[in-house]
């Protein structure tokens, strides 16, 4: 009874303190919303056609037909470059990544069954170049087939894994929820615990019946509430701004509970073993940023090199995001249970370490 009352008193006090500080509110609620708006805008359907600059030097009709067909695919936006221009110079001065040059003998070679190449200019670091290459070769193959009087026998029909109406943003949402679960408590608690230590507020609190476990549980309780609020806010903005499809299943709830438990404890551990507020921030960032990028928040872990995938498997955030993907996208609740089991073990260990190393009385 006594502990429950103390935890409640500390939670209420912390909530007052938190809700009056704009920085706390920004990271807790505004930041996840900004994130979803930003990513939604970047990846939403409209304007997704890649621009490609095309210089048609062909003297015959096939070059123009090829350009028309490319345009007809609807995935490329064609920008024609006059044949008088120096093409590579033109690309550079327009800061453009992708370009195609159709040679002057294109029609002649096509009609004479001679081999001829179109040249693709590309930027190895640009994600659009690969897509343009695939589209270009696809169209060229169609021309080759036509020339050989063949008929396409095999084809591909595409459909997203969940339902045909799902869009890219829907697949991003579990990652972004994981991101919010990580960032908000990690940054805040690392900072708060280092500050409380510097300002001797822990020492002050140690002179009351409040225990360090009470204190930590109150913070976990607060961040669970905040995490539910930011989950609902992110979902609402995703739905109303981008028409996102979010699977609301009760299976999400355990992840919204265990996530804050884990990262409040981890933040506490980092803050309490650091000797100053500044070093706590550095150590906190050293842990948070790699975890943020390597756990599948913004890009799937499966696209990373094998050794990085191994690293991802020891990061707790990986299991949060994998678990959320399992329940929200694949509906694979059995796999989610495994993720949950891993998370519970990691969380209990980190919680125990945080309580153990958290010095309440002496410096």
């Amino acid at each position: 009874m006594g502990a429950a009352k103390r935890i409640k008193a500390d939670l209420v006090n912390f909530a007052h303190s938190y809700s009056r500080s704009r920085i706390g509110l920004f990271f807790g609620l505004a930041f996840p919303v900004i994130l979803i708006l930003l990513f939604g805008a970047i990846f939403s359907g409209s304007g997704s056609a890649s621009t490609v600059y095309v210089q048609n030097l062909d003297n015959g009709p096939v070059g123009s037909l090829f350009v028309q067909t490319l345009n007809g695919t609807g995935v490329l936006h064609i920008d024609l470059v006059p044949s008088s221009q120096n093409f590579s110079q033109y690309l550079l001065s327009n800061s453009a990544s992708d370009g195609l040059v159709i040679p002057s003998n294109f029609s002649a070679a096509y009609q004479a069954d001679d081999h001829v190449n179109v040249t693709e200019y590309w930027n190895p670091s640009s994600s659009t170049s690969e897509g343009i290459y695939i589209v270009t070769t696809g169209v060229l193959n169609a021309f080759n087939l036509q020339k050989a009087n063949g008929t396409a026998v095999l084809g591909v029909q595409t459909q997203t894994i969940k339902s045909s109406s799902y869009t890219y943003i829907d697949f991003l949402i579990p990652g972004m929820i994981g991101f919010a679960i990580l960032v908000s408590p990690m940054f805040a608690i690392t900072n708060i615990s280092a500050q409380y230590k510097r300002d001797k507020i822990f020492k002050q609190l140690s002179l009351t019946p409040l225990t360090k476990t009470d204190w930590l549980i109150a913070k976990i309780g607060f961040y669970i509430v905040l995490t539910f609020a930011s989950f609902l806010l992110m979902s609402a903005f995703g739905i109303f701004a981008f028409g996102a499809h979010i699977t609301f299943t009760p299976w999400i709830i355990p992840f919204l509970l265990i996530g804050p438990f884990l990262f409040v404890s981890l933040g506490m551990l980092v803050g309490t073993v650091s000797t100053s507020v500044e070093s706590a921030a550095v150590v906190g960032n050293l842990i948070t940023f790699p975890m943020m990028f390597l756990s599948g928040t913004f890009f799937p872990v499966s696209t990373m090199p094998a050794y990085l995938q191994n690293v991802a498997h020891v990061l707790p955030l990986f299991y949060v995001i994998e678990g959320l993907n399992n329940v929200m996208i694949y509906g694979n609740n059995g796999a989610a249970l495994q993720d949950l089991a891993v998370l519970i073990v990691i969380s209990l260990v980190i919680f125990a370490l945080a309580v153990r190393f958290f010095k309440w009385r002496e410096d």
Binding site: A9, N13, H16, S17, R20, K200, Q204
Partner: protein, 308 residues
């Protein structure tokens, strides 16, 4: 039974012996002040008594309890303001008092407590907006929430302006009136002289002397002196007339008095001399004068932010 009994207390940080075998007692209802320059070991001593630090050796009993082993029990009966008290920036004094009341599971009238520490006018301002003196008063208010029998105040007025310091003094006097024992560390000597029933002077981990301010001044002071502005002839005249020790420094004649009747004898001699004189004062040593003699340096030299 005294409120606090300390004997042979020792604490070292590495090779630094911060507290070196000190012993003292504090009676119930007493205001006891621990004086000393920075680094003397005052805060280490007070934190050991509060149960915030573990001692290396010695016996310590606070309200009959071992502060390190029985900290949880003890903290229900004592109030503490740590040195440089700070709190959460966005919490008001009234909220803080209610927060503490919930932690201690006691019912309090927050307004009443804030009235006691003269902070009622600012009870709804955020901690970060309070002045230095108001912050200390909020610390005092928090230390009173659990109705303590004993209050520890570690440099409660350091860095405060004279007006704020006097306000804190008023609060400490009120505590004494209510029968609460107080242990106060300070490096303002007039604060100890003003408030404390007994003081202990601490330097380099040891207690040099302890007793009431009057006792210490009587024991270590140089006695009562008459100072009068005049010339060297007046000094010579007084020396021959009274037979007392007379010094002449920078246009001031200083006569050291030995017995009660000496005062009148010196005044009569001045009148008889018919010489020019002015600015006559009779003054005993202050605690500060004694302190300078004992420690060999000024107590708050170059280390205080506020006026002294």
């Amino acid at each position: 039974m005294p409120a606090i009994e300390v004997s042979g207390l020792k604490k070292a940080y590495g090779s630094l012996q911060a507290v070196d075998s000190i012993s003292f007692t504090i009676d119930k209802g007493e205001v006891f002040s621990l004086l000393g320059p920075n680094g003397a070991g005052k805060t280490t001593t007070i934190e050991i008594l509060e149960g915030l630090r573990e001692r290396d050796a010695g016996d310590v009993k606070v309200l009959g309890m071992d502060p390190w082993k029985q900290g949880g029990e003890l903290h229900k009966k004592i109030g503490v303001i740590p040195q440089g008290f700070t709190f959460l920036p966005y919490i008001t004094p009234k909220e803080a008092v209610n927060y503490y009341a919930n932690l201690f599971d006691v019912k309090v009238d927050a307004d009443q407590i804030l009235r006691t520490v003269l902070l009622e006018d600012s009870k709804s301002s955020y901690f970060m907006k309070l002045s230095g003196g108001q912050k200390q008063k909020m610390g005092l208010a928090l230390s009173l929430v659990n109705r303590p029998d004993f209050v520890f105040l570690d440099e409660p007025t350091t860095g405060l302006d004279p007006q704020a310091r006097r306000a804190v003094w008023d609060v400490i006097r009120n505590l004494k009136k209510e029968g609460i024992s107080v242990m106060l560390t300070t490096h303002y000597l007039e604060e100890a002289e003003e408030l404390a029933d007994r003081v202990a002077i601490m330097n380099k981990g040891k207690i040099i002397t302890a007793g009431s301010p009057a006792q210490i001044i009587a024991e270590y002071g140089s006695g009562e002196k008459i100072r009068v502005r005049g010339d060297e002839d007046l000094a010579e005249f007084l020396r021959t007339q009274t037979g007392l020790q007379v010094a002449f420094v920078d246009g001031v004649v200083v006569v050291t008095l030995k017995a009660k009747g000496d005062t009148l004898a010196v005044l009569q001699a001045i009148g008889k001399s018919g010489m020019e004189w002015s600015d006559l004062t009779i003054r005993n040593d202050s605690l500060e004068d004694v302190f300078v003699r004992l420690i060999g340096s000024k107590l708050d030299e170059g280390q205080t932010a506020g006026a002294s």
